[in-house]
């Protein structure tokens, strides 16, 4: 890390900030400047990430993205292939920070004694630290020891987190797991020369046993037990160790990172950890329940905060470029086609998706291509959210007290903490959402991917800069928050979605809005329809919502609600397609419905064939 401005002494002296996010596909740079005492986003640039040949150096992509900012602003930030830091007059920047998920991010295996207890806690610790969990090994995972050994050997994780046993409990199973890891003699993914980092965060009584078995065969670190007693998790120490080791071992062996580490003012943060911190900030500031998503090229991260309990999951192989073909494999062709509002042959769709996979940095030029990408995004979001709901269960967060009976009940029932009717805001980030040509497209993708119920606000990251703001918030919270509110978070509006189903054309919902200018907007929407009422960003309307007998918007079936609804760039979206949402199976009928909905919300331009630039 470079010596620069002393942030502890005078954060106000910071005038210029450059922040980058090295994604798996693109590296994004943003420029923030202080004007009249306030920090604002000035410009952004992006360039393909360069961990691949011929460059094999992530800093090249960083310089290219920053050079785009130079082109757009006419300012100089780079000299001799380095970011000029600290600033020299008009040249360079006062602060440079970065996040990264390039190189496949942090890929971990976790191990614990009981799959539903310590192993699940270990999984949450790893996910919360921004890792992709490649596999979970547990004494009761019903695999043979040799199968576990083969897995460890073949998957070649960047790091292993070993937990197991409450303090004072059994040491035998922990010893067994340590023996398996030692027998596998795992090699790290990057670099032949260094030994694989293993973190032990289990029963304190087994520390020596683990050391005996793993010290010679790995780079072993011991930290506090992440499940010291059955009814309490203590995930933070393990998470911090994971992030330290990510920087010390993994990043240093990724192409060019050692150089990038020297440039940044604070350690490079894994992208998901940075986005996670921003999501938690939203929940804390507004005291609301939040679901957030960051849909990237290789992975899709889902974050949720319900009742102050934070959860993050990553769907390692759901994404819009490198992993786009895996969305097809997991969702299947019919599931993607059901969102495409025109006829397309399966073979054609398959080839288009594979061509995106092999040329991941390309973007849709024609409207039809955009529609197909947005159809795929809906499925990626839907699948990632299903995975999230499966893991956001039971014991969550640090220092949360529960009784033993709660513990058993939660893990066995798998009751998810995610309650869509309680959800206050759904926030989207990632290229396909942030760069959707019309904001209503992002809103529609979020609705179709997450199926919000009742009354839910929708927002999107304006230009995909939550990762950079997440890391900036670690050193300069004021700048990060100002830019977040003024330039990053675009409020799309509010979705009103009654839960229930009926026959198409049946009465579904009546809504009356008393607008800020005193006028009244009334709308009656039938089942199977969508509608939008414009309401400006941050404008508030008094709403009376009357669901029909079979429908619930939060107060119970057929129960009227009086509430306040907040506007956004799209307005108030009334989604009367029902929950669960069932699309027509007949191809012609489905295309007709999709076209109708798109028209009602003005989602796409009229001329689909247009290929003009």
């Amino acid at each position: 890390m470079t010596e620069g401005v002393d942030l502890n002494k005078d954060p106000e002296s910071i005038q210029t900030i450059v922040a980058t996010d090295c994604g798996s596909t693109t590296t994004k740079a943003i420029l923030i400047e202080k004007h009249d005492g306030h920090y604002r986003l000035v410009n952004r640039g992006e360039a393909p990430t360069t961990v691949e040949a011929p460059f094999e150096d992530v800093t090249r992509g960083v310089l290219n993205a920053v050079a785009e900012v130079e082109d757009l602003t006419g300012r100089q930030f780079i000299r001799d292939d380095k970011i000029v830091y600290p600033r020299e007059g008009e040249t360079g920047t006062d602060l440079y920070v970065s996040t990264s998920s390039a190189g496949g991010g942090l890929q971990m295996m976790v191990a614990g004694v009981v799959k539903e207890m310590t192993a699940e806690s270990a999984q949450r610790a790893a996910l919360g630290a921004g890792a992709i969990v490649m596999d979970v090994i547990a004494s009761n995972d019903r695999r043979q020891p040799y199968q576990r050994i083969r897995l460890i050997r073949n998957l070649r994780p960047d790091m292993i987190l070993l937990s197991g046993g409450i303090d004072g409990g059994t040491t035998t199973h922990v010893a067994e797991l340590a023996e398996l890891i030692a027998a596998a003699d795992p090699r790290p993914r990057l670099g032949m020369a260094y030994s694989l980092p293993v973190i032990y965060a289990g029963n304190v009584d087994a520390r020596e046993i683990v050391k005996d078995r793993l010290d010679a065969k790995s780079s072993l670190t011991v930290t506090e037990n992440l499940r010291p007693v059955l009814e309490r998790e203590n995930l933070q120490p393990a998470r911090l160790r994971i992030q330290d080791l990510f920087l010390e071992h993994v990043m240093k062996h990724a192409p060019g990172y050692s150089n990038l580490l020297e440039w940044t003012a604070v350690p490079i943060m894994p992208t998901p950890a940075a986005v996670g911190s921003i999501m938690q900030l939203i929940a804390r500031e507004e005291e609301i329940d939040v679901v957030g998503v960051d849909i990237g090229g290789a992975t899709t991260d889902v974050f949720s905060v319900f009742g102050e309990v934070f959860n993050r999951t990553v769907s390692a192989n759901l994404g819009m470029s490198y992993s786009v073909s895996n969305v097809l494999a997991e969702a299947t062709v019919p599931s993607i086609l059901r969102w495409v509002p025109f006829d397309v042959e399966e073979a054609d769709l398959r080839n288009r998706i594979k061509n995106k996979m092999i040329r991941p940095t390309t973007i849709p030029q024609a409207l039809e291509e955009l529609m197909i990408e947005q159809a795929i995004a809906r499925e990626a979001l839907r699948l990632a959210f299903i995975q999230h709901k499966l893991l956001a269960v039971g014991l969550k967060g640090v220092q949360q007290e529960r009784t033993i009976s709660d513990t058993f009940e939660q893990t066995e029932s798998g009751a998810t903490l995610v309650n869509m009717m309680d959800l206050d805001i759904l926030v989207g980030s990632g290229g396909v959402l942030s760069h959707a040509p019309r904001r209503v497209q992002a809103a529609f993708m979020l609705i179709d991917g997450f199926y919000p119920e009742g009354i839910t606000q929708l927002a999107v990251d304006s230009i995909f800069m939550m990762p950079q703001l997440g890391v900036l918030a670690q050193v300069h919270p004021k700048a990060a928050m100002e830019v977040f509110h003024k330039d990053c978070l675009i409020k799309l509006g509010t979705c009103v979605a009654p839960v229930g189903v009926s026959k198409t054309g049946d009465q579904c919902i009546d809504i009356t809005l008393e607008m800020p200018d005193g006028k009244t907007e009334k709308r009656s929407v039938k089942f199977g329809e969508m509608a939008v009422i414009p309401l400006d960003v941050d404008a508030k309307a008094k709403a009376v919502i009357n669901p029909a007998r079979k429908f619930d918007v939060g107060a119970g079936r057929g129960k009227e609600i009086h509430t306040e609804i907040i506007g956004g760039v799209v307005g108030v979206i009334i989604d009367a397609r029902g929950r669960p949402l069932i699309l027509p199976t007949d191809r012609g009928e489905r295309v007709r419905m999709l076209t109708e909905w798109n028209k009602a919300l003005d989602v796409y331009p009229e001329n689909r064939e247009s290929t003009e630039v």
């Binding site: 020891p145 023996e179 027998a183 192989n317 494999a329 398959r350 092999i358």
Partner: protein, 377 residues
């Protein structure tokens, strides 16, 4: 100058090619600097540690784990054959014996007094690495492998399946737009690498496998056929270990895709020469693209092109040769005429940076910068 551009795939008439040939684990290197090696020659060898089996001896003998050592008949490091007695216990003054036999032959790796578990390592698995291309050994990585250097034609594909293959290159299409028909694949193509046109069909693949073709180089393939060959939907583009009987290299993409004229003509001009190909593709960090290497005799008079590493690309500039890599102009080649810095609106309404391009037939178009690749020599 523009900074955001995709480097293109290489299509080089004659260039210096270096191939690292490394073992997955440390082992023995069999070649020395200065050796001239054939593609098929083994240059390094090692043994992968054998598979590991575990057996819980304490449970089998109904003894306490801490007592395990005095019941063991073999110690760590010993080799024990399959079926031999590994440990035994006596009870009732030695009247009754129970024993534990080796499930497989192997070396005792460890004996645990905490778990009662014995770990057995089976016989090592030999691994050999060949030179892959005809060339000279220019560097030895101690205990790991060698660097083989050659001069020749080098063509990168966009996607491939199957591992490495070496064989004589034969041309079975008249031009890059011809679909590779099964009829043109004959028994004479056994052990050969064949150059097709715009598309390899399922029937052609079957025919090629039947006659024993070692590799196919072609413009495109259908994803549905890929699924049929693999037996599953390929989710993430990491390939190279498929066992489909041959190696396949796709130069353009999925669907019927005319092979770029330059690529086709160059490869066709190497008819009858020995080619080394690899279908291994990894479109992730540390990207690996499939490739064709055709070593050339050094005395042949063609000008040697400088390797790109010696002359770093200058990026995208007016006059650069580019190929469009996404519909609606997919596959078309042209020269950059304009690089406007400001964002422009596409047909999809996205606001992006674009470039102007003049195609080979004189037509003009505007395309997103993200949708072209530089043509690398």
């Amino acid at each position: 100058m523009a900074h955001a551009y995709s480097p293109g795939l290489r299509v080089a008439r004659q260039t210096k090619i270096r191939k690292e040939r490394r073992l997955p684990l440390r082992g023995e290197v069999l070649a020395a600097v200065g050796d001239r090696v054939q593609a098929e020659a083994v240059v390094a060898r090692t043994e992968l540690p054998g598979n590991v089996q575990t057996i819980n001896v304490a449970n089998k003998l109904s003894i306490l784990p801490e007592d395990i050592e005095r019941h063991m008949l073999a110690k760590p490091g010993d080799w024990v054959d399959e079926g031999e007695i590994l440990a035994q216990s006596r009870s009732f003054f030695g009247l009754f014996k129970s024993h534990c036999k080796m499930p497989v032959g192997g070396t005792i790796e460890s004996v645990s007094e905490i778990t009662g578990q014995v770990i057995i390592r089976e016989v090592a698995i030999p691994v050999e690495v060949n030179a892959y291309v005809d060339g000279d050994v220019v560097e030895v990585f101690e205990d790991e492998g060698v660097l083989v250097e050659t001069e020749g034609t080098f063509v990168q594909g966009i996607f491939g399946i199957g591992g490495e293959a070496v064989g004589t290159l034969e041309v079975v299409a008249d031009n890059g737009s011809e679909v590779l028909s099964p009829d043109v694949i004959t028994p004479s193509h056994k052990d050969k690498i064949i150059l097709g046109g715009s598309l390899v069909t399922m029937d052609s693949l079957k025919r090629a496998t039947e006659v024993g073709v070692r590799g196919i180089i072609v413009g495109g393939m259908g994803d549905s056929d890929l699924r049929t060959i693999l037996g599953y939907d390929l989710g993430v583009a990491i390939t190279g270990s498929e066992d489909i009987g041959l190696s396949l290299i796709v130069t353009e993409g999925f669907g019927e895709m005319t092979m770029a004229k330059r690529t086709f003509d160059l490869l066709a001009s190497r008819r009858g020469m020995k080619a080394s190909i690899s279908g291994a593709t990894q479109i992730r960090a540390g990207v690996i693209r499939p490739e064709v290497v055709i070593p050339l005799d050094r005395v042949a008079g063609e000008d040697q092109e400088k390797a790109r590493r010696d002359a770093p690309s200058t990026g995208l500039v007016v006059g650069s040769s580019v190929r469009v890599i996404r519909v609606p102009y997919f596959g078309r080649i042209g020269k950059v005429t304009d690089l406007p810095p400001e964002l422009q609106k596409l047909g999809s309404e996205a606001m992006v940076r674009v470039l102007g391009v003049e195609f080979e037939d004189g037509a003009h178009a505007v395309v997103p910068r993200a949708n072209v690749e530089l043509i690398e020599e």
